[in-house]
Symmetry: C2
Subunit: 271 residues, 2 copies
């Protein structure tokens, strides 16, 4: 069974795609073809998008499903005339919120992922530059960090630091555990003043072996016993020193970032 899914949006389409994917993952065994249709911000584009849906309906001989996050009521109406099942996200919930607040909405487009102001831009960029500069424990200024991720090489520190910076404006430092740290089971000296900011990342040895093998085939770095030992020692170190930690093996970078925020009480909204 196959279905075409359209994510239609006035803006980037990220909201539509996020909602849509969460819904579609609930249905197994169906071959969904995903089509993102972003930046639909005038009637001509809305009509063209409707045509795309109608062509897919003809070709598939099945109704496409349209995850519609258009904010403009006029454009949303154009879309709802298509030969697909249209799920109108805004319309559905905005009515309920209007009733609750006792006020009418003022339709504005693309605010949620747009129009960053200078302050939040600066916070994100400051954090991103921090992550870039302090990647892999080089040239460290941990004092400035909001959080310091600790783990063996390739446990997921770098992408998590970048994600925290880009999405939350959080300055995330990065400390790669060295064989010396691991053998001693001691918290590295440069980290001891910042114990409350530390968060450990770990990973299943077999997965880590695969990842390292791709980087440096047949190396000691990717050797199964070496990897196993590093992971065990890192986990012991986290346990002994009471660091909160997370196994990243089955976690996406979004999940790791969220859990770090919750665990260290840094919970904050996306910028």
């Amino acid at each position: 069974m196959s279905r075409t899914i359209f994510f239609v949006s006035d803006g980037t389409g990220i909201t539509s795609e996020t909602i849509g994917k969460s819904l579609l993952t609930q249905f197994e065994g169906i071959d969904f073809r995903l089509v993102r249709v972003p930046f639909i911000d005038n009637s001509e584009k809305a009509i063209a998008a409707r045509e795309r849906v109608n062509r897919a309906a003809e070709r598939d001989r099945e109704r496409p499903i349209v995850i519609n996050t258009l904010v403009n009521p006029h454009l949303s109406e154009i879309m709802s005339d298509c030969n697909g099942l249209v799920l109108d996200v805004f319309h559905t919930f905005v009515k309920q919120i209007e009733a609750e607040l006792g006020v009418r909405r003022s339709p504005r487009v693309g605010i949620s992922h747009g129009m960053s102001n200078l302050q939040s831009y600066e916070q994100r960029m400051g954090a991103t530059n921090y992550a870039l500069k302090h990647d892999d424990g080089a040239d460290v200024n941990y004092q400035e960090a909001d959080v310091i991720l600790v783990g063996v090489s390739r446990s997921g520190k770098t992408p998590t630091c970048l994600y925290l910076a880009l999405h939350y404006g959080i300055k995330a430092g990065n400390y790669p555990l060295t064989p010396d740290d691991l053998d001693a089971l001691k918290l590295p000296k440069m980290l001891t003043p910042y114990k409350r900011k530390l968060f450990g990342l770990t990973i299943e040895p077999e997965r880590l072996r695969q990842i390292r093998e791709i980087r440096r085939p047949n190396s000691r770095y990717a050797d199964a016993r070496q990897v196993q030992r590093e992971v065990e020692e890192a986990e012991s170190l986290f346990r002994i020193h009471g660091l909160p930690s997370l196994n990243t093996t089955y976690a996406s970078v979004e999940e790791i970032a969220s859990k770090v925020l919750v665990s260290l009480g840094l919970e904050r909204s996306m910028l």
Copy 2:
């Protein structure tokens, strides 16, 4: 007027927060207090989350609004018993999709932002490493790039490259236009073989001046006339050589990334 908004989720809460913020930006003049309540994956946590909502209701003397993306029907039911307005995102749309597809869903939690497989992990990481290694035109291998962002210093290239890598696994190169490139109005020689991959970023001179002033106060780099001239020359260069381009002044990194993808036909789903 003030309201507390809860984003309640089995997973990271990103879906809930994304939907919720898109809705709330439609309402002006209300002071929303945003609370993310992620990783609600058992009854105890759901009951505790419900308590938080109820406490806020008492404190505010106004019903909180709950953007509920809980997938588990049992947990969602617990939540819907709270003293808030509960907008049940899954339940609302999943029913319609079930009817359309003629199959029942199989509730699974946290799939949308979780469970990255090795292949998509590798693609993201490969792209992230590429972005880190090739930032600011250093040590360049443009052959490998999916896209090359071109612009003056601080026009938004670096965060966009990182975003494209982390979210889409796209290898984005980065070419900072030098005064020599700009004076000559010529496409830099190292870019000419890759013209189809080029995308220009520009920015309003006054905003760029502000950004640079924060970096290097009272410098020639942040001088109003210098900035104005660089931007004008960069825009001429894009025009003369027919490069697609975008003004990043009022765009978020998500928007810039989306427009780059659409413009270069790289449109693809989030990994």
